[in-house]
Amino acid sequence: MGKYLLRRILQMIPVVIGTTLLIYALVFALPGDPVAAMFGDKPINQSVAAQIRSEYNLDKPFIVQYLIFLKNALTLNFGETFSHQPVIDVMGRAFPVTIKLAIMAFIFEAIFGVVFGIISGLKRGKWYDSVILVVSLLLISVPTFVFGFVLQYFVGVKWGLLPVTAGSNPGFFDLLMPASVLGSVSMAYIIRLTRSEVSSNMTEDYVRTARAKGMSSKSVTMRHILRNSMIPVVTYLGTDIGALMGGAMVTERIFNINGIGNTLYQGILRGEGPLVVSIVTVLVLVFVICNLVVDMLYAVLDPRIRYA
């Protein structure tokens, strides 16, 4: 186990380097001159522009810029935004909000997705199975932003049950609606996944054997059907944490939340290399670590899987 963990952590290094290099290259290749944009309508003062360029290392070749970024990032020095704020401070303000939002969305989709999926899978063909299936298909087909608008209009504006937008320091109730919008599509996928896993595991040989041995229906369901069904669901949930943080871009725009998604989106629009690459680096780290945790969980859920 320890050896396997070490090998996996070593394998993460090229992935993180590759991802940051890819994003850095893409942001670097963005058209337009961010320095020229800083002058706005005023004529560009060449000596000032040159000074700004050297300050942000924009006059150096691409690969040198990237290596400088990488070297600084290792000491948590992510540089400054174009408005002279340390990137680490900007991230420090935005990340807690998005983490709160993503955790709420994650709990929402995990609980409702798994519970409805199990009900549906165990009682295939019943009327509530059909209702659950139709609702999950609708949630997948209707784009998140349409769902967000409709919910915002009815729950927020018309009925006034929850705040329409989240403020600068949102609490639990401010984020309740955005989190359910953010988690809704994944919830629908989890319902479908759990349902098909549960109903296919019900016909497995080991389930029949367990029943033949005289095991009670309840413990067959708990110990054999559900435990085996959870493996793909856990995989999906693990990879979804990264997707939730990325998907927050849309939700945060609808509900006007000042989280990482909004900051990242603004950064991309303005061509702010250091800011974009720093945020993406953190997102990729979160994603890769989640995947590792999922792989470790396999061994707990499925005794057949052993890591040497």
Binding site: P14, I23, I140, P143, S196
Partner: protein
């Protein structure tokens, strides 16, 4: 307990003896068939041994035809394709002809869905928007399947260092969410007004899933017995790849492609909503939904119609994906 098992095994021995002793068919039967009271499995008797063998694709097609999900989604998809290919059959109004005099006017007669803020006919925009959404979805799916399928198949079939390199590249792209990657790429082609920029941006970050699935199913098909047998009979690796591995690895790829088509249509709409997808000169559902968002409280119908059209299209392709999955993956069937 031990007595029972003993008599059981005795019984078994006698039946075996009888079987070998008397292989002649019963009167009126061509082959030996055990009497019905000994074999409650009537299904065994109903097997027609002279029937020609059905291929996996033929049996999948038979299952598919009987699936109501397939019939509903096929009708929906054919209708949507018809609208996308021949929009002029459904409306005579020009979707780009807008008159501010009609701004937000209610629907009537020739303009059943009313007008949007710019005074454009909502119905004709919904009809003409189908072409954009469907072509973005279909073209992205084709490109993703070709690129991801090729990379996955090469990695899975050749293994070794080729697999190691391709899998690491796949890992790198997999760690970047599709939406995020597409936004960065689209930002590079901000000035272009072609729908190809959206298609290419989604392909560049969308092939990963397909590559992983193809790699997995090629690995599985490569190690099947008939493949080893074919190699033993002297087949070259290339012949094996095209004759045995690819046909057997195709099913999960087709399922993935059908299901993801709907996802790409939603993704295009999301990018247009964020304001960096298709340019406003292209009539698209995503763009129309995006520009109608501020009208939700005043004229919700302007937001409603393109959203419903988009949802129905995506629903059609996702249901088709489910039906194809049921037909091609017998394990997922419960009957």
């Amino acid at each position: 307990m031990s007595d029972m098992s003993k008599s059981d095994s005795e019984n078994l021995d006698t039946t075996n003896e009888e079987f070998f002793a008397d292989p002649d068919p019963l009167p009126g039967q061509e082959r030996f068939v055990a009497p019905a009271d000994e074999t409650p499995l009537q299904a065994v008797d109903s097997v027609d041994e002279n029937e020609p063998a059905t291929s996996m694709w033929a049996s999948a097609w038979i299952t598919l035809r009987k699936n109501p999900l397939f019939i509903v989604s096929a009708i929906l998809i054919i209708f949507i394709l018809l609208v996308a290919i021949f929009p002029q059959l459904f409306t005579h109004n020009n979707p780009t002809y807008c008159n501010l005099d009609y701004s937000l006017e209610k629907g009537s007669g020739a303009h059943p869905f009313g007008f949007d803020q710019q005074g454009c006919d909502v119905y004709s925009r919904v009809i003409y928007g189908a072409r954009t959404s469907v072509s973005v979805g279909v073209l992205t799916t084709i490109l993703v399947t070709l690129l991801g399928g090729l990379i996955g198949a090469i990695a899975g079939f050749f293994g070794g260092w080729v697999d190691a390199v391709l899998s690491r590249i796949t890992d790198i792209f997999f760690a970047i969410p599709l939406l995020l990657g597409a936004i960065v790429v689209l930002q590079m082609f901000k000035t272009s007004s072609s729908i190809w920029k959206v298609i290419l941006a989604m392909t560049l970050f969308g092939w990963v899933q397909m590559a992983r699935i193809t790699r997995g199913s090629v690995l599985e098909a490569k190690n099947l017995e008939f493949n080893t047998a074919s190699t033993a009979l002297g087949s070259t690796p290339m012949r094996n790849l095209f004759r045995h591995v690819i046909p057997n690895a195709l099913a999960p790829v087709i399922v993935m492609a059908t299901t993801s088509l709907g996802t790409y249509i939603v993704m295009e709409a999301t990018l247009s909503f964020l304001g960096i997808g298709l340019p406003s000169s292209v009539v698209s559902w995503g763009g129309d939904i995006s520009s109608a968002q501020s009208l939700l409280r005043v004229t919700p119908s302007v937001l409603f119609y393109p959203s419903v059209a988009l949802a129905l299209t995506v629903l059609g392709f996702i249901m088709m994906g489910d039906a194809v999955k049921d037909a091609l993956d017998p394990k997922s069937r419960t009957e």
